[in-house]
Amino acid sequence: MADFLSMYSVQHWLESCPQGYLRNTEYGHHPGEKEPELLLGDSLLREQAIGVTVQLVVGERCALAASSGLVGSAPDEASKCFLATQTLDEARHVEVFTQRLFDLGVPRTELESTIQRLANPNLVRFAEVLLEKVDRKDFVAGVVGQNVVLEGMAFTVFEMMYAGNQALNPKFAHTLSGTIADERRHVGFGENRIGALIQEHPHKRPEIERMQKEMSYWMLATFADSFRGTPAREEARRLRASLSGSGAPKAEWHGADLDALEPEEMEHLLADTVLKEFKVRLGRIGLEYQTPARP
């Protein structure tokens, strides 16, 4: 285990993350990159981008609270050190997505009220389920909730957003690519470290599986809200159409053309991809995936 955990050391993190893929970036993107004028100039698109970014901030604030909250209950020094790196990764994500809100024109004085106004209540419930485990110092449930469920969801959502923004908004796509690299490491730790702990504490399985089911439900409810009321959909299509004249590639993800999908189809594609990933990852650590109710 010591060898495996050396892959998650602070030393390894310093070399691969701040001194690696984040080198020469500014708030996660290339220096000087800006949000597209077309986005900033269209109030509907801008409002939608603010709404989406608020959910990212809410998710990352939860991840920051969870990872820092788990340090104290980690059973060994190496896990504590890894969670220390994850704490700073999550703080960086909070910082870069908050900065995006400012870039999109949210006044600094209105940051908290904007987040409060636009935070999806289902996402807040999702966070509460996880943070309750963290507060009870339940390390195994906390890591499954944080590093498998939350990070697994974030990883897939960010990948889809990355595919959708690569041509439309390189600044945001670059910000996302750094966070995707971080999430990959977090999910890897969750899978690798927690399997052994679950074997040591088999009695914890039912409770953790219930948590996964509940978190998955709130996640699906969040997706439903996000995709079922998207007035800016046509605007986004027009924006992409205006770019396709300049040779912008199609936004493809998991074999689907994201531009051609209706919001409901996109919701299903995202939900199915995340849930499939959950099933595989939970299976790897010895947990049985529980199918959530569909909101």
């Binding site: 030393q11 310093l14 909250g69 104290g72 050190c81 220390a84 704490t87 908050t98």
Partner: protein, 258 residues
């Protein structure tokens, strides 16, 4: 990470705090002294072999440093939850990774000098007062008393580590010296945060000074006792032992908490 803004002191107070408590600022601060290092020292620096008694003393102090750093790591991570705003949460997250790094480099140094099971060795060599200090610090964090907890963590504990590491680095072997000097640079930043955060709060609500004074009285006692226990274990003559305590009290006084 891109170039840092040229003069942070030209910023208004709110923007200044946002800048100096950011991930970006942290990275620029540590890049200079951590770049190219492996576990806190230059990879081509190797210390001369240690005599058995020297090694024994080094293992004892490193084990106790690990307890201090574990306290700092658990304390700082616990403080994230009760930090009053976004800037302080982000700063504390940078401190969490610093403390994690300190623990990691010290554990690595222990294995370097031949300790095969550092965690067991730490438990065996831990001084009672330091363990008590750790318990008390984490209780303050647990009770969500922001001022008392940040005082215990970023003034008392950081000043204790700063004093001990700086003093030890002067006479340590080459590798340990580089490791400790790197940690000391981080501690300065952490103490600066504590001083700044509490300084602003004391200006607004001077009555909290009395409460911090009580915390100081209680913790100073444990700090000085842990110095005494460690120095005794290191066979430092009794007449020389108070010097470290005096140095620690001076550092805390310089931070404005006499």
């Amino acid at each position: 990470m891109s170039e840092q803004s040229p003069d942070v002191h030209a910023l208004d107070p709110e923007s200044f705090l946002e800048e100096v408590h950011s991930f970006e600022f942290w990275f620029h601060s540590v890049e200079g002294y951590l770049s190219g290092q492996t576990y806190g020292h230059r990879p081509d620096v190797h210390g001369a072999p240690l005599a058995p008694d020297e090694r024994e003393r080094l293992v004892t102090v490193l084990c106790n440093y690990c307890i201090g750093e574990t306290a700092a790591l658990e304390g700082a991570s616990g403080l994230v939850a009760i930090a009053p705003n976004r800037h302080t949460k982000v700063f504390l997250a940078t401190q969490v990774v610093d403390e994690g790094r300190h623990l990691e480099v010290l554990l690595h140094r222990l294995t370097d000098v031949g300790v095969h099971a550092p965690e067991a060795e730490i438990e065996r060599r831990a001084t009672r007062s330091l363990l008590q200090f750790k318990r008390r610090l984490l209780e303050l964090v647990e009770t969500r008393d922001w001022e008392a907890a940040i005082f215990a963590q970023n003034v008392i504990l950081e000043a204790m580590e700063f004093t001990v590491f700086q003093t030890h680095a002067r006479t340590a072997d080459l590798v340990t010296r580089e490791v400790l000097n790197g940690i000391v640079k981080d501690e300065r930043r952490h103490m600066g945060f504590g001083e700044n955060e509490l300084g602003r709060r004391l200006k607004l609500t001077p009555h909290i000074r009395a409460r911090l004074g009580e915390v100081k009285k209680e913790l100073d006692h444990l700090v000085l006792e842990s110095f005494e226990e460690t120095l005794r274990a290191l066979a430092v003559p009794a007449a020389e032992r108070p010097e470290l305590g005096r140095h620690y009290l001076e550092v805390v006084a310089r931070l404005g908490f006499a």
